[in-house]
Symmetry: C2
Subunit: 549 residues, 2 copies
């Protein structure tokens, strides 16, 4: 058998919100870090979410020992309900991760069949030939961990998502001492969060947001509604603290956020001294006694906040006098949706506070000085930037060069790349399958379906319906033309008549040779496409439909 080498294989992780998943392999053992989903980009039409391609893991199923989770955000745990039914491996994460995943798996009715295990900072697990050690980092959710994976050839440090917050909401700071100790003993390879590498300096502490919320709750004469991500438990705590301080009763709207909050309360991650209010109380309390936390910070049209803005919510309509706080930063693909929600809220007469005009959100990722500190503390031999778009990885690699890590020891990996690492050398060695897996409804869809949707979205569809004699293959009668999403029916009668004429001519021309459908079909397509483009400069999908009778 060839000498075993450590392999590092990102199976996801490129993208603004990355469906993070990293496989580490040595000999007979594979361990996976994170199993996240990605929200679809604009051109992924009708796609609900995107998950990593686990073909490689399925092919090596018997060697996959565990999935280790760094923290409970969707881009790190969201793919578990899709992956676990296909890959029966134990999952290890913090108590909060355990809670969040359980909520999620219960929704998918998968909770009973999976092996969830809790780990705490300082815990060390023996997983095959690996020893996995969890250490605390700061991020925008409690219980965020980095992982030191001690392998037969050295220690690999994976930071998870992190920033250096000296005053986090839960008071639990990053374990700088353990990182320093690891760096002291020697680290073979560092994988570090690149998301915020474009920003110079330091990311502000979550405390900044706490102070803003406090001021807003104190100053507002009416109700205060704060929108954020459902899993941002720390933010919920900050809103609760500010609300209670100013004598406001706390309400939570949006099922996912309410589920998460209730779980977090039960597990002790969220403290709501006066408890949560009920929809009934909401009706009877005066506005200045009300604080609401809700989902919808990304402007999702079916979210609680969008419904409130459009007066379509069961319990709460935003009205003049309300203050609405968007306590989140937009995912790039959602900027338009968020802006429209903000506009709708202003039109209802609300005062709207959002990033850009008020300090109501800070990023959960470290900026350049924090990334430098991590590189200095860990001082690895090899460096693999992770999390973020390709440009972030390149910039993070450059940052590492500027601190003295040689270029040849730095690897910008794309999804599916295999990095082979020995004690003194590392090199890219091949590729494994790493497609986007597009989840739509109950199943996934492929490139063909997506391309068809893009085509349909651009210029609609034009059907040419023809009856064909099933015995002779001859066309019977006249063809019909139907369109959707192509032209306004009211103004296009003449165009449709003309297209029909074009089709009749095409078929007639065909008749001289053969009446077989297989010949006429492409002929119709070509004729109609050409004519339609000339007349309209549009390229609808053209679908000749034969009905055999």
């Amino acid at each position: 058998m060839a000498k075993a080498r450590l392999k590092i294989i990102p199976l996801g992780g490129l993208g603004e919100i990355g469906r993070n998943m990293m496989a580490l392999e040595y000999g007979e053992d594979i361990v996976v870090i994170d199993a996240g989903l990605m929200f679809p980009e604009e051109e992924m039409l009708g796609v609900d979410l995107v998950i990593p391609d686990i073909t490689y893991l399925k092919e090596n199923h018997e060697r996959v020992r565990a999935i280790l989770i760094t923290h409970g955000h969707e881009d790190h745990v969201g793919a578990l309900p899709y992956i676990l039914p296909q890959l029966d491996v134990p999952v290890y994460g913090s108590p909060l991760v355990h809670g969040l995943i359980s909520v999620k798996l219960r929704e998918h009715r998968l909770l009973k069949n999976v092996r969830l295990n809790m780990v705490r900072p300082g815990d060390v697990l023996q997983i095959g030939c690996f020893r996995a050690e969890f250490f605390r980092v700061c991020h925008s959710i409690p219980d965020s961990f980095g992982i030191a994976l001690h392998t037969p050839i050295g220690t690999v440090v994976h930071t998870g998502d992190f920033k250096l917050d000296h005053t986090p909401v839960d008071g639990k700071t990053m374990d700088l001492h353990r990182l320093a100790e690891l760096g002291d003993k020697g680290v073979l390879l560092l994988m570090s969060d690149s998301t915020y590498v474009e920003r110079p300096g330091y990311t502000p502490s979550e405390q900044v947001v706490g102070q803003s919320l406090d001021r807003i709750m104190g100053d507002a004469k009416g109700r205060v509604v704060v929108a954020s991500f459902a899993s941002l438990i720390s933010r919920i705590q900050q809103v609760v603290d500010a609300a209670e301080k100013h004598g406001r009763r706390m309400f939570i709207m949006g099922r996912s956020m309410l589920d998460n909050a209730q779980m977090a309360i039960e597990m002790g991650y969220l403290t709501v001294p006066s408890g949560l209010g009920t929809p009934d109380e909401l009706k009877h309390l005066p506005p200045e006694r009300i604080a609401v936390m809700t989902t919808g910070s990304q402007g999702e049209p079916t979210s609680a906040l969008s419904r409130m803005a459009n007066r379509d919510h069961r319990f709460l309509e935003v009205i003049a006098g309300d203050t609405v706080v968007i306590s989140a930063s937009p995912i790039p693909g959602n900027v338009g949706l968020i802006n429209r929600t903000i506009d709708a809220l202003f039109q209802q007469g609300a005062n709207v506070l959002y990033q850009g005009i008020a300090d109501v959100h800070v990023h959960g990722h470290g900026a350049q000085e924090e990334l430098k500190l991590m590189l200095r503390l860990v001082r690895p031999r090899f460096f693999v930037p992770v999390h973020g778009e390709y440009r972030h990885l390149v910039l993070h690699a450059r940052l590492a060069h500027s601190l003295g890590i040689p270029e040849e020891n730095t690897f910008v990996l794309q999804n599916g790349d295999v990095l082979e690492v020995t004690t003194y050398r590392a090199k890219k060695a091949g590729q494994v399958s790493s497609d986007y897996i597009y989840v739509d409804g109950l199943g996934d869809i492929g490139q063909v379906v997506l391309r068809d949707r893009q085509h349909l979205a651009q210029d609609g569809i034009l059907l040419v319906v023809v009856a064909v004699d099933k015995d002779t293959g001859k066309v019977i009668g006249e063809p019909d033309v139907i369109s959707r999403g192509f032209v306004d029916v009211s103004v296009s009668e003449q165009l449709m008549t003309d297209i029909r004429t074009q089709v009749v001519n095409a078929i007639d021309h065909g008749k001289a040779h053969t009446t077989e459908w297989g010949y006429i079909n492409p002929k119709i397509k070509e004729t109609v496409a050409k004519y339609v483009y000339k007349e309209t400069r549009r390229r609808p999908m053209i679908l000749p439909v034969a009905v055999e009778v």
Copy 2:
């Protein structure tokens, strides 16, 4: 006849990039300021651009005296080729505007039929009962004007797009003195640019970009490629200046930018001492002697920059050693496209500089302190914030309140709102038509087409094809099921068979009552929709197609 009142009617102007158009009306005279287009938002599928609704102007055609243009950007002039064929009125703009519009009208083969007139700062036109006076402002294109419209009941000042640049590229600063003088004499109403009202402080001068470009051209060892908007003549000048200073030959790629540049050179707005290079020279010059300016700063897939990034351009492929500068800010809907282009450029090995990591772009709009200065200088009785999204108008109105303009004298208008103004009072009075007009190819499309495209984009289409006897209305034989953009054909054979069975059952069930197509059609639709949703959680467009034979 009722006493004449001044009416202010925005026919466009809401939106990040606004298809700006403002009608001002008094008695028998209507004058229009700007005629811009808007780039489509994400959900406007397949739409090329959006233009203002000129129904009101067409209905009052004989009273429309002129269109006055503030400056040559697309969101202020881009709708002219679509509007002028429907509305034969003279257009007045600066020499540069004249040049840019001429380029555009020539493309549309409209140049001969329109009445374009040049105006210069200080010019005063008598237009019906109005006197229109043009004064210089600073923006990111030379020859940007504000307009003082002297009406029978007082002066209306429209700022156009502006910022307070004390060191503009062309050295021509804003006419603060005339604004002060107007303010001194008394201004009835101010309409002022709201685009950048979210930002505190001042927008930096274009000089900042010039210095960055100079440094980049000097430092880069290879070619330098700068992408920006085709109409950003000032930026082109800055790139030329930096290129020539460092001994680089200047090339311009992208037809629209090249057309604009050539026009600007002819008219004296752009100075290229050594002239522009030809594609042939590009092949033979050493990299450090090359500077390229190109379109594609918004990541448009067919633009020159995208082609260069994907090695699909006729004359230039981006390679390792090249420096690429994205000298523009993203329009919100384009963030994803731009990020993908930046990633592709990094993957080619280029060094990419963009807003966020380098000072390679400044906004063309004034921030809060500049907007305050405008309000103070003009000190109008009434204030109407213009340009920007609804939230920008609200924030700008608040800024005006903070400077002492009473709330009741401030009006946030939506497109189509009519504001009636007398000497001492103003109030909203009704609405005129102000739909989005979606241009796609050679014509425009309506809401139905757009909704169909959105439906098709989400989950595709499912055709149920049935042959019907044209005499009896009876269904002949078995139905067929065809789909596009719905499910992967390879994995859905069973589903298609099941849908077929469902359809057969629905028709059989129908037979008990009647065999008329009008009855069966909705029955099929309902049955299939229900079944498909249950099985897939998707809602494709379901289109029963009857073929009469």
